[in-house]
């Protein structure tokens, strides 16, 4: 079994999340709400969150279809090869100007979209970009987006249930309305702490899968380092540096384009994860970059 430690931790946190949901379902059932209705309502809420989340994510960054020519043509081919290796359908590829080097995956296995920022493509060389894409494809393969939506759906459902419990047990005055909203919010925050813990574990798993399918963790480790530094010299962008079948590890393109990462972004890149407060660590969606790099190079 791959990643046994991470999977055990995810299983424990997942069981706690399910327990939250089971308590809500049991209370609703005890109050006379049919279990089928509880399940249908839950599925509907998660479905709506999934659809809205995907739509708003693509819209918020102004994502456009990734061209098939030039450098992007090679990205298409590399993603196709990686998807084939991972046994998933090639996701839809899009590009966007996000102002910072970034990439993310949305959607589910079979209907996923991976968005790459132009800034990321300018910052990384071919192999590093492939490492990032392998990480995003691993998210798709592991159904991480759907898992997160389900986790957030459970947080919403538990929060709403807590709100109604307080509301129905009170006198319906303004203090009770206020208290119900506060309790619902607080309970949702507590459940979200577990969802965010799962998110951090799944980043490690996606890193390990990217390392496995690429054959080395070095390209992704270098990409993370380069993005963290923010001002690294970028790669050559021309398609001449890329050829299908040249997926040999360790072959890097070189170039002298400016990275396009401005000073503000550069400042954002400089952070020390060891200085993060406990609260910041608890609400982080990603593990510390240093730890990820160390694991990728193990």
């Amino acid at each position: 079994m791959r990643h046994p430690g991470l999977k055990l931790r995810m299983a424990v946190v997942g069981a706690i999340l399910f327990a939250f949901y089971a308590v809500v379902a049991a209370v609703a059932y005890a109050m006379g709400v049919p279990l089928v209705l509880v399940l249908l309502g839950s599925v509907a809420l998660v479905g709506v969150q999934y659809k809205i989340g995907k739509w708003s994510a693509l819209r918020s960054v102004g994502a456009e279809e990734m061209p098939e020519d030039g450098r992007w043509g090679d990205v298409h081919r590399r993603v196709e090869a990686l998807a084939d290796d991972m046994g998933i359908e090639k996701p839809r590829l899009m590009v966007a100007d996000m102002g910072v080097p970034n990439a993310f995956a949305v959607g589910r296995k079979g209907a996923a979209t991976v968005v790459v920022s132009n800034e990321l493509a300018r910052t990384l060389n071919d192999d590093e970009l492939e490492g990032v894409l392998a990480h995003e494809l691993a998210h798709v393969k592991n159904r991480d987006v759907v898992t997160m939506v389900i986790g957030q759906g459970i947080a919403s459902i538990v929060g709403i249930a807590a709100q109604w419990l307080v509301l129905l047990s009170g006198d319906n005055d303004i203090a009770d309305f206020f208290l119900s909203m506060l309790v619902g919010t607080a309970v949702q925050f507590v459940v979200m702490l577990f969802v965010l813990a799962i998110s951090r574990y799944r980043e490690y798993v996606a890193d390990a899968d990217a390392k496995r399918y690429i054959g080395s963790g070095e390209p992704l480790a270098r990409a993370l380092e380069k993005i963290q530094r923010g001002n690294e010299a970028p790669s050559a962008s021309g398609s001449a540096t890329r050829q299908r079948g040249r997926r040999g590890r360790g072959q890097r393109s070189r170039g002298g384009q400016s990275s396009g990462v401005n000073e503000q972004v550069g400042a954002l890149c400089i952070f020390d994860d060891d200085d993060r407060s406990l609260v910041t660590k608890l609400v982080a969606t990603h593990p510390p970059v240093e730890k990820r790099i160390a694991r990728l190079r193990e």
Partner: protein, 74 residues
């Protein structure tokens, strides 16, 4: 003051203060609208909250404190 009212005032003051002091934490802990946190910030990092989102959370925090104060004196 009734226990439920006192709890409402206490929780309201706490949540309001959290919204004002750490809007980033409140945003991350909000289940709605957080399905793709990766889309903000740079790759591998938790994205910073947008200025608008930060001020919306702070405004909600101020509203929360105001309602808590009203419930306390009412």
């Amino acid at each position: 003051m009734e226990p439920r009212t006192a709890l409402a005032v206490g929780l309201g003051a706490g949540l309001g203060a959290l919204c004002l002091a750490r809007p980033d934490v409140v945003r991350r802990l909000s289940a709605f609208g957080a399905t793709t946190p990766d889309r903000t910030g740079q790759y591998g990092d938790d994205g910073p909250a947008s200025t608008r989102a930060t001020w919306v959370v702070r405004a909600l925090g101020a509203l929360c404190l105001a309602v808590a104060a009203y419930v306390a004196v009412a």
